[in-house]
Symmetry: C2
Subunit: 437 residues, 2 copies
């Protein structure tokens, strides 16, 4: 069986066998299969698709391409959440300490921001001293001590994903649901998670713009988890407007602390608590999602979640008490004003994400660096009334030139109507739990 046959089978719409995918992936990682053959296969897979079985097998051989973390022996269930990426999405920072306080361990391996979306690692690193480069022993130790730990992906975990992702990025094969599925699942399972809860974002600020696209990804994730014999919950959540009020690394940590103190905005808390509740169910800590919700709410109200956050910041090199204090804001301030009276109906999350990126909060290329103290604070959310000339958002930058770029992104980003039709839209659009076969 040659790699050429593997490519031709996929080109002709046939199913690749485990042996074929094994040879392709492990050969690519070893350097025996040249990149031009991998990229021809990627394009064939992009255009002809992979079945759920193939996606499951691809995930499995990707996991086996490297070292998996061994987190066995830790006392509680190991459950992780993965978000497909949104704007103002600081859910992980609130959710991890919250579910840890309820007895679920979270081995969270996160990424950096790219394009219009922020990244959990960038947000955490705005905390002075906070390290997201943990070796396996330290990662394990912090999970044991705090119930959760936050780290970046280590280079020897799923090297196949690094290689395939780099090739997809330059060959126009990124937006493939099976390839996205295998990339996400291989990383999450290699990091030691026993079950996963997915936050598939849907809307203007998400990669999946339509509900149908989001459903397709959610279904692919579930079907591949079924093929792998792993429990999974998929939630599709609204990502039309930014989550919460804060966009920008330190600003989002600050808002997370507000949430952990029990004063979080409704949209952000709805999503966070619902996802957390499913993690408790997936981990066997709650028997129903309603029970999960009430336990999560309780962990916020009684201060246990905040306490876990402080302990984690201390454990990962920061100062937990100082992390609770208000953050500095960069000195150049600009105000985005309403141009009419009415009700805010939309704050285009993509435009706000790009605007925050233009201020320096995000990156367009992986090698760019980000600033902690720049970003956007919303003054209004969808459903709020506003008068012409009142503030909709404040922008903070270090460099005035960047403000102009950001304001250009926001020129048409705010929709104000006479009537309010956006105030009561649900944040959770679909939930599907697939916990037992």
């Amino acid at each position: 069986m040659s790699i050429l046959d593997t490519i031709i089978h996929k080109r002709d719409g046939k199913q690749n066998s485990r042996t074929e995918l094994e040879q392709l992936v492990s050969g690519a990682v070893r350097g025996d299969v040249p990149h031009y053959q991998v990229s021809a296969w990627l394009m064939a897979a992009f255009l002809n698709g992979l079945t759920p079985e193939e996606t499951g097998v691809l995930t499995d051989v990707m996991i086996r391409s490297g070292r998996s973390l061994d987190l066995s022996g830790l006392p509680g269930p190991l459950i992780d959440k993965h978000s497909t990426g949104g704007v103002g999405d600081k859910v992980s920072l609130i959710l991890a300490p919250m579910v840890a306080a309820c007895g679920v361990q979270v081995p969270m391996m996160s990424g950096r921001g790219l394009g219009h979306t922020g990244g959990t690692l960038d947000k955490l690193e705005s905390i002075a001293g906070y390290s997201t480069e943990l070796d396996e022993d330290r990662f394990r130790q912090i999970i044991q001590d705090c119930g959760f730990a936050m780290t970046g992906q280590s280079s020897d975990v799923v090297p196949a994903d690094r290689l395939l992702y780099a090739l997809r990025d330059v060959t126009g094969t990124v937006e493939s649901i099976p390839l996205i599925t295998a990339s996400i699942l291989s990383k999450k399972f290699a990091e030691g998670a026993e079950a996963l809860v997915f936050d598939v974002k849907c809307g203007a600020g998400a990669f999946m713009k339509t509900f149908e696209q989001a459903q397709a990804l959610a279904e692919s994730l579930r079907e591949s988890c079924r093929a792998l014999g792993r429990p999974v919950v998929t939630c599709i959540t609204r990502m039309e407007s930014p989550l919460g009020y804060a966009i920008g690394n330190a600003f989002e940590v600050e808002e997370s602390v507000t949430c952990l103190r029990g004063d979080g905005p409704a949209d952000l808390m709805d999503v966070t608590i619902r996802l957390g509740a499913w993690m408790l169910v997936a981990g066997g800590v709650a028997s129903t999602v309603e029970e999960g919700v009430s336990r999560c709410v309780q962990a916020i109200e009684n201060g246990d979640a905040l306490d876990r956050f402080v302990r984690n910041v201390n454990a990962q090199g920061g100062n937990g008490q100082r992390a609770l204090e208000p953050v500095d804001r960069a000195p150049v301030r600009e105000v985005l004003k309403a141009d009419r009276d009415g009700y805010v109906q939309g704050l285009n999350a993509y435009a706000f994400g790009r605007a925050a990126g233009a201020l320096g909060a995000g990156r367009m290329q992986a090698e760019d660096s980000v600033l902690p103290d720049v970003g956007i604070i919303l003054a209004r959310k969808p459903g709020d009334s506003v008068h012409s000339g009142e503030t909709v958002a404040e922008l903070y930058a270090r460099d005035p030139a960047r403000v102009a770029d950001a304001m250009a992104w926001l020129a048409d980003a705010v929709q104000i109507d006479d009537e309010d039709a956006a105030g009561d839209l649900p944040m959770i659009l679909e939930e599907v739990a697939q916990l037992k076969d």
Copy 2:
């Protein structure tokens, strides 16, 4: 405009612009566009196709990737023929001197055999001393002196085709009609041909197994020539059984001489004369194909074609008179016998081609070498009656072990029936001339 956009446009089924194809091809030849991007584009082009306009533009930018031969100033029209490859296909060796004798110049740049098909260069090189490596001056001089010259592809003519073909070969993107079209046309027009006559083989021994596939390729060749503003004739010819009686390099030269002497087998001469006649029409030397046929027949009958052949062999380093003599046959002889009485109805050309290859007449990989004096001589053709035990074909080899391999290929290659339904099947299945816009 980035290469990534070029790939994504083709991935999404859009048409690539001239600028995009120019950047892709010239970038690839310069080494600025990495192979993994070229191969992703090739797979997208394979699966989503190219329009005739795109194929024409691709051909043009491939031609411009290297140096074109300048054959201007030669006295007559420059017309070439291209065959998609068959078994026993020695048409070029007869046709080139024949049409040269009629006043059409043939700048023939040929390839080597691969797989089950032979190559004109391999056949010519079975003539002692014959050189197929001509520089441009020598190529031009021999055309001027003999009316035709036979050479291999020089490395600076269409380097893009060499690169793309090498990548297609290892990425499962060979069998794409637009990519095949651009590959053929770019080489043929870069060698200096003003118009082309195509022999699109169809049947068991051809790359195009069905008439529909052959029609699709013929149509693609015509449409791309129209986009390029070049005259073209496409002929679809039968390739179910080997052409003529001889398969093997020196054996085919010997049979070509027989044909040039006027004693050629009907199937081979039908194809050769008809293609030659169209070359005379395309070159403006005959006004109708019927007139072309009678001039070609005349050039054989009056010995002018044979004379041109002798002059060409002398000019290219061989001994023209000696090339007319019977050739040596390798010492190990085996006979394939009829297993029943009846009429030969089929001699599977693919099987005979692989059998000749197994004897050493062909190669499975480009770096293999070939033997001149091995091959197969048919004793019967479709339509001939045969008795059980009589000879259908003789095999000649240097090594007895190879005879067994060849005989294995021929186990089911001969079809003998009670009735004759194969004797009168036409060799020319379709002819379409597109000489003016």
